[in-house]
């Protein structure tokens, strides 16, 4: 530690919100119509963060493996719903939830367990103070990747239907015929994390690293943590995107090497 951690009072936080209030006032005065949105978004943020702060404090104090696992499961549930909601044309039935959610949950859980048990090694390994924030970061990034990958896959297959079927008709297998589409979906799912890795430290300092530096951790230590986290995030995202996209390709074709777009729901009006 190179410096003391400076605790904030609620009064400090309230003063920081003054800038936002000035902005909202300007918006009302100039009739930009943003004042209401700004205020509501800020109020939501305050309530959500206060609640999560209380919840995390309780979970950390109780230090129960079951409670930690339960919070993790709830996070998976919210993330799965989000993947489902972000698809324009999703798979019919339970597949619409299960494939994206399952791929994301499997990849994120595998990576967090390996990361905690073998690399970060808190005692016990599931210590919620480490497990939950890291799981949130990993899951959030995997969520973005998986939903982008699945969305690109279904939209591109729909658009390129004739080209895919032309290849099937000339004797290509389903995997050969959808290879360019699969590649595009995988690339689109992994692009955000690739961009994040390339830009990090140059364009912006990552939030976790900034937080550690502000709380007094040596920048070189904070960098090591950040690198480890980025590798875990990238690994989980890549694995989740791969599983989800290949699973969806399998579901959108069949053993007789047909394209099965009938297994997608119609576009929402």
């Amino acid at each position: 530690m190179s410096g003391a951690y400076l605790a904030l009072s609620y009064w400090d936080v309230a003063l920081a919100a003054l800038f936002l209030l000035v902005n909202a006032g300007l918006s009302f005065w100039l009739q930009l119509g943003l004042g209401r949105q700004l205020t509501v978004a800020a109020a939501r943020m305050v309530v959500q963060l206060l609640l999560i702060g209380l919840l995390l404090k309780t979970v950390f104090d109780l230090a129960s493996p079951w409670l930690t696992a339960g919070v993790g499961l709830a996070m998976i549930g919210f993330a799965t719903r989000e993947v489902w909601a972000r698809q324009e044309r999703r798979l019919k039935g339970a597949w619409g939830f299960a494939l994206g959610g399952g791929a994301m949950a499997f990849a994120a859980t595998l990576v967090i367990v390996v990361g905690l048990a073998t690399l970060i090694q808190p005692d016990p390994w599931w210590t919620p103070r480490f497990a939950l924030p890291l799981f949130g970061m990993i899951l959030g990034n995997a969520l973005t990747g998986v939903s982008l990958g699945l969305d690109t896959l279904s939209a591109t297959l729909d658009r390129e239907r004739r080209a895919v079927e032309a290849q099937l008709l000339l004797g290509a297998t389903r995997w050969q015929a959808v290879r360019p589409v699969t590649r595009r979906a995988l690339r689109s799912g992994m692009m955000p994390i690739i961009n994040a890795m390339a830009a990090t430290g140059v364009v912006s300092l990552p939030g976790m690293m900034t937080g550690q530096i502000v709380s007094g951790v040596e920048p070189t230590e904070a960098v090591k943590y950040q690198l480890l986290i980025m590798f875990l995030i990238a690994g989980a995202t890549a694995l989740g995107v791969l599983l989800a996209v290949l699973g969806a390709v399998r579901r959108l074709t069949d053993r007789r090497h047909r394209l099965r777009l009938d297994r997608l729901r119609a576009t929402q009006p």
């Binding site: 032309a166 099937l168 008709l169 290509a172 360019p180 007789r256 090497h257 394209l259």
Partner: protein
């Protein structure tokens, strides 16, 4: 040669038909009658039930890609997946004589797909399908986008395929074309064959 028994798919069937060696069978019917659905079902491109066999070999005993190389289906609108025409052919140079025979310049294979007209695509897709040396051709309105001269060249190519021992199932709107080319004509309506429509 090709036997179809009790073939059903969504909005289609049951369909029974046989296609003999060196036979051109024309299939006529109004739009939405199920002509293309029947060809897709025979090519196993949509989920379907029933027995389809080629020279006594059941379709289900073959992997679908092997079946489709033997029973080639040419949709009315062709699909293209690469930028250049030649990339869609296994041996572009071997395909050039056929391209010329269909009234296209031989260097059409060196063009980009983006500049092809619908009629050019239709003819090039026929050449592409013939590269596989299929036993049966399922042709879905192969001359719909062509001027009379180009259509005559395609009809000549279809006859040549028949003379070389292949069987052809030809979907056409054009009664005169059916009369010119086909040994038999079947009518289809509401997903079912409704008998011979004259020869």
């Amino acid at each position: 040669m090709l036997t179809v028994e009790g073939l059903r798919a969504a909005n289609l069937g049951p369909i029974d038909l046989t296609l003999g060696d060196r036979e051109i069978l024309a299939l006529r019917g109004p739009s939405g009658a199920g002509k293309s659905l029947l060809l897709r079902a025979i090519a196993d491109l949509d989920p379907n039930e029933g027995r389809v066999a080629l020279d006594g070999t059941d379709r289900d005993t073959l992997p679908a890609p092997a079946w489709r190389r033997r029973v080639a289906y040419l949709p009315a609108e062709s699909g293209w997946w690469a930028d250049r025409v030649a990339e869609h052919f296994q041996e572009p140079d071997a395909a050039r004589p056929r391209v010329r025979a269909l009234g296209l310049p031989a260097d059409a294979l060196d063009w980009s797909v983006a500049r092809l007209s619908t009629g050019e695509k239709q003819r090039l897709a026929l050449v592409r399908a013939l590269e596989q040396d299929p036993r049966v051709l399922l042709l879905d309105e192969p001359t719909s986008a062509l001027d009379p001269e180009a259509a005559a060249a395609v009809e000549a190519a279809i006859r040549e395929q028949r003379d070389n021992g292949r069987a052809v199932l030809l979907v056409t709107h054009d009664r005169k074309q059916a009369e010119r080319l086909a040994d038999r004509t079947l009518a289809i309506a509401k997903g079912r064959l409704s008998g011979e429509a004259g020869s």
